[in-house]
């Protein structure tokens, strides 16, 4: 199995010195005394892999980058040099200053080499750079080392990344949709800290098991479950043909919409009436106008990113005013069980404290996890 391995050597440096990231502010970070941390995190992940799962090492061919962008960490952790193929070298390392361009170029090489998994060490910014190149062609796994890690592609800790790599190599893990989130730079420059949904990617996750024999379990793939959820939603739409449905963002909702042949914007909010898209990628104002014409309105959402947000990440169009108008009882949350396992609580960050509190007081929501099948999930704010 070929694993692409890339370290963003400057990721996370801004955090300790109070910056909201290191993208584009490297010099400032260094002047403030920032130290590199990502190579250390990469080392932890690979060392855990070597120590706890020696049996998989022979099966892995590492496709990496020269020096601090990858190879150094692999060698320092104890990976045999023969197992490493350097696919990319940049001139900017010496200064310790790699850039977005380097990440993207390296990923291009990984794609050309046909890697089976891309492991990176960095934060949301690095994830975005990578996905802009590899799209949904390669599953990615992040060793968390950034300042911001809202995307759903990161292992919980650097230590936890080791076993995930091993289990993927052994065929025990599956791939599924994940969202790539990052700070909304435009809003940030205006002084507000909002995280936006930028893209969707393929991550690796724990499969969903169903018991078939007493000790035998079948893994159901995510598409099968999403088909069940689609059947559920289709029935919902059919039973309420007088209701306006707002389709949220992210891969799960997009999958459902596609299955139902409803046009949908993966990164935006769409208005659906009688199974037809009557408002594509609508903003808050358009939504308010639309909503005036309908008595019954429901919204269908899927938790977004690593923290399970249903409001406040990736769907700011659904403003507090709109959420209040829809009402908590008209919110339908859907999720595959494997995604719920990774984000066992739902969160809201609507920017309106009273509204957030209403959700927090609600304590739990029923999340649709299959056809006519739901389960209780706790909800909280940030």
């Amino acid at each position: 199995m070929k694993i692409g391995f890339i370290v963003n050597p400057i990721a996370g440096m801004g955090g300790r010195v109070g910056l909201k990231g290191t993208d584009g502010v490297y010099d400032e970070a260094v002047n403030l005394g920032a130290q590199p941390i990502s190579s250390e995190k990469a080392l932890i992940a690979i060392k855990t892999l070597i120590d706890d799962y020696p049996e998989v090492l022979d099966d892995i061919k590492w496709i990496s980058c020269a020096g601090s962008m990858g190879k150094n960490s692999l060698i320092n952790a104890g990976i045999n040099e023969e197992k490493i193929h350097v696919a990319y070298a940049s001139d900017s390392f010496d200064a310790g200053k790699t850039s977005t361009k380097d990440t993207v170029k390296a990923c291009k090489h990984f794609v050309d080499e046909d890697v089976d998994l891309l492991v990176f060490c960095g934060g949301d910014g690095t994830a975005r750079d990578i996905v802009s190149m590899v799209k949904k062609n390669v599953p990615i796994l992040g060793i968390p080392s950034g300042v911001k890690m809202h995307s759903g592609v990161f292992a919980v800790t650097a230590h936890a990344a080791g076993p995930m790599i091993a289990r993927f190599v052994k065929g025990e893990l599956r791939t599924g949709d994940a969202e790539i989130m990052d700070l909304d730079e435009t809003l940030y420059r205006k002084g507000s800290w909002k995280v936006r949904l930028y893209d969707t990617a393929i991550a690796i996750n724990e499969p969903t098991y169903v018991q078939v024999g007493k000790a035998s379990f079948a893994q159901i793939n995510d598409d099968e479950i999403k088909n069940d959820i689609t059947d559920h939603i289709e029935e919902e739409l059919d039973n309420h043909s007088d209701t306006l449905y707002l389709f949220g963002s992210g891969g799960t909702i997009d999958y459902i919409a596609n299955k139902l042949s409803i046009e949908n914007t993966i990164l935006g909010i769409d208005a659906i009436y009688k199974k037809k898209n009557i408002g594509k990628d609508v903003n808050e104002q358009q939504l308010l106008t639309l909503m005036d014409s309908y008595d019954n309105i429901k919204v269908i959402l899927s938790p977004i990113g690593a923290q399970g947000f249903i409001f406040g990440r990736g769907n700011l169009q659904l403003s507090p005013k709109i959420i209040r108008k829809i009402g908590i009882d008209n919110i339908i949350v859907v999720s595959t069980p494997s995604k719920l396992k990774a984000t066992p609580v739902l969160r809201v960050d609507t920017g309106d404290e009273a509204l957030d509190k209403m959700f927090v007081d609600y304590e739990m929501m029923l999340v649709v996890i299959g056809y006519r099948m739901s389960r209780v999930v706790h909800i909280t704010s940030i």
Binding site: Y209, K214, E363, M364, R375, V376
Partner: protein
């Protein structure tokens, strides 16, 4: 259609085998009791559901033999057509008396009750509310319904209340909360009083699977007696195959509930009655539970002693509250190794591994038996101590 032979099952089987999902059948040579011979090796039995040591009880044996003499070897027909004999009817009535319900009926197995009855209790416009750790037969029954289904976290009453509250906002015709009485992986007991109170408050019905509670809880009468809810629980299912040392499933409740159940459950309507001597054995079992109350007491004494001692060795027994006492070892491979080493030492126990339980909660499941002596328990504990140290578990 490309596949013309069954050859590919060889690959599928090998695939299962590689993942460790296949069973090696261990053969018992002789009756099931605390001391058994398994594949030629003398062992202490820690893996049977024969909690009260009734499977080889002289009264049960005698009842079987006499019934064979009187009724022959088999029932000869489906329950519904010509297979229900007077001894079966006697059993139905005796169960109702034993469980203190209006009525009762038997099914081939407990599995046939859950998989056959549950789909009949709820349909479109209803909701079934199920604990996440319910037995596989409940899960199958629930899957077969057209009702909405909601799952709450294991024994999490806050979550159960949330589902009930949400359900009460919708126009459901009926809601049924379904739970195991004793959960067979952890040996913990459902909070039946709270479940009943919540269900009652929100107008829902309750269904309990008493498979591991019969002969164990409520002085042997089961979970209804334990919580003083015999008349309140709407649907009680159980089995004679565990604590009672017999065989076959049962379903008890109000007269019309029971009549409705056997008139609609396909696993009852389209399947043969169990043999008459099985009914006679089950009748004898209930008599013994009543006449020899010291058995239930001994079972609990054994459970208390074993739990205390294995914990003092340093093993985690999780949430156990019953004679099902897990020794949690963590890693699946280690649990399997421990079970194999125990067998070599003459202890027959089952390793329960991922994904039956969480990845870091693999365990040996120890099932107590009223027929075990203090000496047996000490022998088992010594083996745990020795192997636990060897495998670095304690």
């Amino acid at each position: 259609m490309k596949q013309k032979t069954t050859a590919f099952f060889k690959d599928e089987f090998n695939d299962l085998d590689e993942k460790g999902y296949t069973w090696t059948i261990r053969r018992l040579e002789g009756p099931s009791k605390p001391h058994v011979t398994v594949d030629g090796k003398k062992c202490i039995m820690l893996a049977s559901n024969n909690y009260l040591n009734l499977a080889n009880h002289p009264n049960l044996r005698k009842a079987a033999i006499e019934a064979v003499e009187k009724y022959g070897a088999a029932a000869g027909s489906d329950w519904s057509i010509a297979g229900t004999m007077d001894v079966h009817q006697e059993l139905f009535d005796r169960i109702a008396e034993f469980k203190n319900t209006e009525s009762a009926v038997t099914f081939q197995t407990g599995f046939a009750v859950n998989a056959g009855v549950i789909p009949q209790l709820a349909g479109k416009g209803d909701i079934l509310i199920s604990d996440e750790l319910n037995h596989g037969s409940i899960i199958d029954g629930v899957r077969l319904t057209k009702a909405d289904r909601a799952i709450y976290g294991h024994s999490n009453m806050g979550e159960l209340e949330k589902v009930l509250k949400e359900a009460s906002k919708k126009e459901y015709r009926r809601a049924i909360v379904i739970t195991d009485g004793v959960f067979s992986m952890d040996g913990d007991i459902a909070k039946m009083d709270e479940i009943y109170n919540l269900a009652h408050e929100y107008g829902a019905l309750t269904y309990v699977d008493d498979a591991h509670g019969e002969g164990v809880l409520g002085n042997g009468y089961g979970i209804g007696k334990e919580f003083d809810l015999e008349k309140e629980i709407d649907f009680q299912m159980g089995t004679f195959s565990k604590g009672f040392g017999g065989f076959g499933g049962m379903f008890a409740g109000s007269e019309y509930t029971v009549k409705y159940a056997w008139n609609t459950a396909r696993s009852w309507l389209l399947s043969a009655a169990f043999p008459p001597h099985v009914a006679a054995v089950n009748l004898a079992a209930m008599d013994v539970v009543e006449k020899e109350p010291e058995r239930v007491k001994k079972l609990w004494d054994n459970a208390k002693y074993f739990k205390k001692e294995i914990e003092s060795l340093g093993f985690d027994t999780g949430y156990s509250q019953t004679p099902i006492i897990p020794a949690i070892v963590g890693d699946s491979k280690k649990a399997q190794t421990l079970a194999n080493m125990m067998y070599d030492e003459g202890i027959f126990a089952l390793a329960i591994v991922f994904p039956m339980v969480a990845r870091d909660k693999a365990r040996i499941r120890n099932q107590m038996n009223a027929g075990m002596t203090r000496e047996d328990l000490d022998t088992i504990l010594r083996v745990y101590e020795k192997l636990g140290k060897k495998l670095d578990l304690i």
